[in-house]
């Protein structure tokens, strides 16, 4: 459908398609049979819904269970992570193209240091050395522990269980700081891709450098950066599984716990893969829609 709209060609089934499809099915069946013969495993998919939502047998109440909490945690990480990374990324991206040498040096150092160190190392260093010094000083954990009522609900909905809030915040900051380095470079490239004439045009009508950036350059740059930003955003969602190493109870770690307890590894991991796919694929769809919409606005 889409192809026909785009290029004026209609899709038609040819004999090659049938042969290729048949081959794929055959290879799939062969692999499945091999796996079934070699691998001794009793499948039991009931473990997934059971750990997704739990029904109390006495009262009949339903409530979210481990896997559902894991999905929430991953979504929270993705949401706050994107927000913080975008803010850092835009600020640092502007610094990268600034006329001020100091700002350029700072942002360049940040990008190179973050991009060229394995994320796992950054996570451990920040968690064990930086956050274990800073978090107690801020006293967030103690403050949160003593909150009550509506405030507590708001905190729990936004940041997860209060007992593990320090871990969540550390994980979130590391993730955001790490991804923001890539965002920075994308934004820089976006700004630099805007033709020099646009700057000159802004200058010639007497706009300040900030106003040229705000009203002329940024709108064009942002539209151009949406596809790479969306790609990086999808990486962020997948990279968020790394923070399970520092006790953040995200989807990956919750899944691991269920897999260990029930010994149903395959069902759980397939389910986790599907959830990550759904989250990331919806992000792709949103970015496509956004791209088309913004493109229309600028024409």
């Amino acid at each position: 459908m889409r192809a026909s709209r785009g290029r004026g060609k209609t899709l038609r089934w040819g004999w090659l398609d049938v042969v290729l499809l048949g081959l794929i099915v055959l290879v799939g069946l062969y692999l499945w049979r091999r796996a079934a013969a070699e691998v001794f495993y009793r499948w039991d998919w009931s473990v997934v819904p059971e750990y997704l939502v739990y029904q109390n047998p006495e009262t009949g109440d339903w409530r979210a269970n481990l896997l559902m909490h894991g999905i929430y945690a991953t979504l929270r990480l993705a949401f706050w992570g994107t927000l913080i990374a975008l803010i850092i990324g835009v600020v640092m991206g502007c610094c990268r193209v600034s006329r001020n040498l100091f700002l350029r040096l700072v942002s360049r150092t940040y990008v190179e240091a973050t991009r060229n160190i394995p994320p796992l190392v950054i996570i451990f260093v920040v968690y064990f050395f930086v956050s274990s010094q800073i978090m107690p000083l801020l006293g967030i954990a103690d403050w949160v522990r003593h909150t009550e009522g509506a405030l507590r609900t708001v905190i729990e909905v936004s940041f997860g269980p209060t007992a593990l809030i320090e871990n969540f915040l550390s994980g979130l900051l590391v993730l955001a700081a790490f991804e923001a380095a890539y965002f920075t470079e994308i934004i820089r490239a976006g700004i630099q891709s805007v033709e020099k004439g646009q700057w000159e045009a802004g200058d010639s009508i007497g706009l300040s450098r900030f106003k040229v950036m705000r009203y002329v350059i940024m709108p064009q740059a942002i539209q151009r950066t949406i596809p790479p930003l969306a790609g990086q955003l999808i990486s962020l969602v997948k990279d968020s599984s790394m923070v399970s190493l520092i006790s953040v109870q995200d989807l990956t770690y919750s899944g691991t716990q269920v897999a260990i307890s029930t010994r149903k590894i395959f069902e759980i991991w397939i389910f986790i893969a599907v959830v990550y796919f759904v989250i990331c694929f919806s992000l792709s769809l949103v970015s496509r829609w956004l791209e088309r919409r913004m493109g229309r606005g600028l024409q």
């Binding site: 750990y51 522990r145 871990n167 691991t256 716990q257 260990i260 307890s261 029930t262 149903k264």
Partner: protein, 279 residues
């Protein structure tokens, strides 16, 4: 008063003053040690934070999402006896000692075996449990073995969980065999069932349970556990009060039979199996 006398008196006074401040310093140190103990922190906070990782049947997630297991019972009972609430901080095994050192939780109650290497970095209490190794071996690739030493063979591949005493045991008992380390025990056990590896070393009762549910694909080459180990609470160094408190708690709960009863429930019995959906 002549000069000598005066000097002597001031000297004596000086020594006395110095001695007194010395005593006061010592008193200060003792007070400081007591007030900085993690026990004091727990009391003030009203919450005890426990670091743990998941091992069957030490700590697991029940069908309703609750923490269950021997470890959970022990930790909950300690908190109950202290009159504080409890918070569990599940942490990947590799990071559990660094997390304890950097103060992410107060005490590790995670079936941690005492080893001299670990003891160099953290302090252990008296043991509250003991366990031993067993082997789950593949019935097709390595049939009919009956001794641990049979596994010391370069053609045999053995699995164990990374960073656990299982790895130490493989290196000690079967240095010639190929060792494969796993992050998750279930994955290693599945490999043993499939014959990707020949055997899996783990603490009892994990191998027995795997053999029982494998429909003959796995067998137990030895029935008696070997490479026995003791499990203790782990706390940060330099905190004598915490060690004393937990030691006496363990002594008391062993003397009144509570620890043995719970240990029997989780390690010998199987009444808990339907809590975690193991079919």
């Amino acid at each position: 008063m002549n000069t000598t006398k005066r000097t002597l008196i001031s000297l004596i006074a000086g020594v006395m003053l110095f001695g007194m401040t010395g005593a006061a310093w010592a008193q200060d140190t003792v007070n400081k040690l007591a007030s900085e103990s993690v026990i004091e922190t727990i009391k003030q906070r009203g919450v005890m934070r426990i670091g743990l990782d998941f091992f069957v049947p030490w700590a697991m997630r029940a069908k309703n999402g609750d923490f269950v297991g021997f470890e959970i019972d022990v930790a909950t009972k300690v908190a109950e006896d202290m009159g504080v609430e409890i918070e569990f901080v599940p942490t990947a095994w590799d990071g559990i000692i660094p997390a304890l050192l950097s103060g992410k939780f107060d005490v590790v109650i995670a079936g941690m075996s005492v080893t001299p290497q670990r003891h160099l970095r953290i302090n252990f209490t008296d043991p509250y449990a003991s366990s031993g190794m067993l082997i789950a071996a593949n019935s097709k690739t390595v049939p009919g073995l009956t001794r641990v030493s049979d596994f010391n063979n370069p053609n045999i591949t053995i699995g164990a969980k990374r960073g656990t005493t299982g790895v130490d045991s493989v290196m000690k008992q079967a240095p010639l065999a190929k060792l494969r380390q796993y992050d998750e025990e279930v994955v290693g056990m599945q490999d043993a069932i499939n014959g990707t590896i020949d055997a899996y070393f783990s603490s009892s009762p994990v191998p027995e349970r795997a053999v029982a549910s494998s429909e003959g694909r796995l067998y137990l080459p030895v029935q008696e556990t070997f490479d026995g180990s003791i499990e203790s609470f782990a706390v940060r160094k330099g905190d004598p009060d915490a060690i004393l408190f937990f030691n006496n708690w363990i002594r008391l709960r062993r003397h009144d039979g509570w620890l043995q009863e719970r240990h029997h429930y989780w390690f010998v019995g199987n009444d808990w199996a339907d809590q975690v959906d193991v079919k």
